[in-house]
């Protein structure tokens, strides 16, 4: 039996595990609720007008601006990815399930990659539901679907890959699943933004930071962001905030690079970790 066959077996059963967990359905419910809330409030409160977006831009980019808001799911991508992945490796050691799983003729790297794939598929399912609702909404309301939605989805998936890898790295290094989950959330939601904001304030463009790369989800619609959102805040947008998310392809590559490097780190640590 080849390692690829074993990888398929691991992915299949790990996915079955994910789909049996309440957190999958919780994540799905929260996603649906969040997207519906964004769409409802956007339309119900006529948000573009309150955001100071000039009328001509609303007329010209109405569908794109709506789609951009409706698909702003970076937080959901992060949360879904973290909750599926935080316990992927650490849980095997912490919950002692590794005593059954590891003494099998399968490489640990195959187990890790199989688990990774299952987490990614579960996260993708949740994101796809969110994007599907957003796409249907924009189609119903504006009778068109901006192609930028696909770019936004691609960046959301790259972000999911990055976060899953980060959670796997922490999960491989730390004793507990909760610790790995919290460490991932802290890194992405506290540490990285501090570094990114500091760099932006100092005049550097933090295009290489994952949190800023994730902001590019809103830059895939060919909307002149600086002009459209320039009036949102007094004195215009924060320097570096809009410019940092101007190149979706670079951001996509940055997120994938983090995903690859962190997954490699996770593989290395898991291979070395002892089932003590």
């Amino acid at each position: 039996m080849s390692e690829f066959e074993k990888f398929k077996v691991v992915t299949r059963y790990e996915l079955l595990k994910q789909l049996r967990r309440k957190r999958f359905y919780g994540g799905l419910g929260i996603t649906v609720l969040a997207v519906l809330l964004i769409i409802g409030l956007y339309e119900g409160l006529n948000l573009p007008a309150h955001m100071g977006i000039p009328e001509r831009y609303i007329n010209e980019y109405g569908a794109e601006i709506f789609a951009m808001c409706a698909t702003s799911m970076s937080s959901l991508a992060v949360l879904a990815a973290v909750f599926f992945s935080g316990d992927a490796i650490a849980g095997e050691f912490e919950n002692r399930t590794g005593y059954v799983l590891f003494p099998n003729p399968v490489k640990r790297s195959t187990l890790v990659i199989g688990k990774y794939s299952a987490c990614l598929i579960a996260t993708t399912l949740i994101l796809l539901v969110g994007f599907l609702i957003s796409t249907i909404s924009v189609l119903v309301l504006y009778e068109e679907v901006p192609i930028g939605i696909l770019g936004s989805l691609a960046i959301a998936l790259a972000l999911a890959c990055c976060i899953i890898s980060m959670a796997f790295a922490f999960s491989s290094a730390l004793k507990g699943s909760m610790g790995a989950t919290i460490a991932t959330l802290l890194a992405y939601m506290v540490i990285f933004p501090i570094i990114s904001s500091s760099l932006a304030q100092a005049g550097y463009t933090p295009w290489f930071m994952p949190d800023r790369a994730a902001d590019s989800m809103s830059a895939t619609y060919d909307i002149p962001l600086e002009e459209v959102f320039g009036g949102w805040m007094r004195g215009g947008a924060i320097p570096g905030m809009v410019q940092a998310s101007e190149d979706p392809f670079t951001s996509f590559c940055v997120l994938l690079a983090y995903a690859v490097v962190l997954l490699m780190a996770s593989l290395w640590m898991t291979n070395r970790r002892e089932m003590i």
């Binding site: 039996m1 077996v9 595990k17 049996r20 399930t97 059954v100 099998n104 003729p105 089932m275 003590i276």
Partner: protein
């Protein structure tokens, strides 16, 4: 007779603590050997090393001639293992769990289904085949752990306290299962329960503080010390 398991000068330190001190053992094909010793003697450490779950500070383990630390997957494919009190994924049923493990071990689809029924019947879990494991008691999980160890009909069984967590009836049944299952297999069993050892194995490796104190047939030890209990007490004297 060819050796199933060769433990060659195994030493293991945990952060400076010596858990296993230059342990060497040879277990022949179809032999049943109990690793006997007090708590903290190094029994579980030895079994974990045999299964490749941890790495030695020095030494090697060979399973049917294959070095566990150089060709891990090939070496452990011959093993059926029950280490410590394992846990299972609570969201899966015994059938799904055994199906997962069987496929990882390269079992054929048609044979796997029949074998799952067979081993679950053997450990008396046939009525719980499709119930999620989250509803299982510790004893039931221990039975399932035994079932997964026997699933692929491995030539070598590595068992760490197989009756742990079982009630008296479960213990008796487990010993009966092991007596039946060991036929034609090599059994390496760690325990500190003398009754279990006497019923399941014919040979004993007695270890204390990570060192091998005796390795002989139970009958020989009984002849020399009067009983296995006396041998145990004498050879592990003053260890705590």
């Amino acid at each position: 007779m060819r050796e199933s398991i060769v433990i060659d000068g195994l030493t293991k330190y945990y952060n400076g603590f010596l858990a296993l001190d230059n342990l060497s053992l040879k277990i022949k094909n179809k032999e049943d050997v109990a690793l006997l010793g007090p708590n903290g003697a190094g029994k579980t450490t030895t079994l974990k090393l045999v299964c490749g779950l941890i790495r030695p500070s020095s030494g090697a383990v060979y399973i049917e001639g294959t070095n566990v630390f150089e060709e891990r997957e090939k070496a452990i494919s011959k093993l059926g293992t029950l280490i410590e009190t394992p846990e299972f994924y609570p969201f899966l049923t015994p059938r799904e769990t055994l199906s997962y493990l069987g496929r990882l071990r390269g079992m054929e689809e048609e044979k796997l289904e029949d074998r799952i029924e067979e081993v679950l019947e053997l450990v008396r879990l046939e009525k719980w085949t499709d119930v999620k494991i989250e509803k299982f008691s510790r004893g039931m999980k221990q039975r399932l752990a035994l079932a997964q160890a026997l699933l692929h009909d491995p030539p070598i069984l590595i068992l760490d306290e197989p009756a742990l967590g079982l009630d008296p009836r479960g213990m008796t049944e487990t010993r009966g299962i092991l007596k039946e299952a060991r036929k034609g297999k090599t059994v390496f069993l760690a325990s500190h329960l003398l009754a279990e050892v006497i019923q399941v194995c014919r040979k004993v490796a007695l270890i204390d503080r990570g060192r091998l104190q005796a390795y002989d047939r139970i009958s020989n030890l009984e002849r020399k010390y009067g009983s296995l209990e006396k041998a145990y007490l004498e050879l592990t004297e003053g260890s705590i």
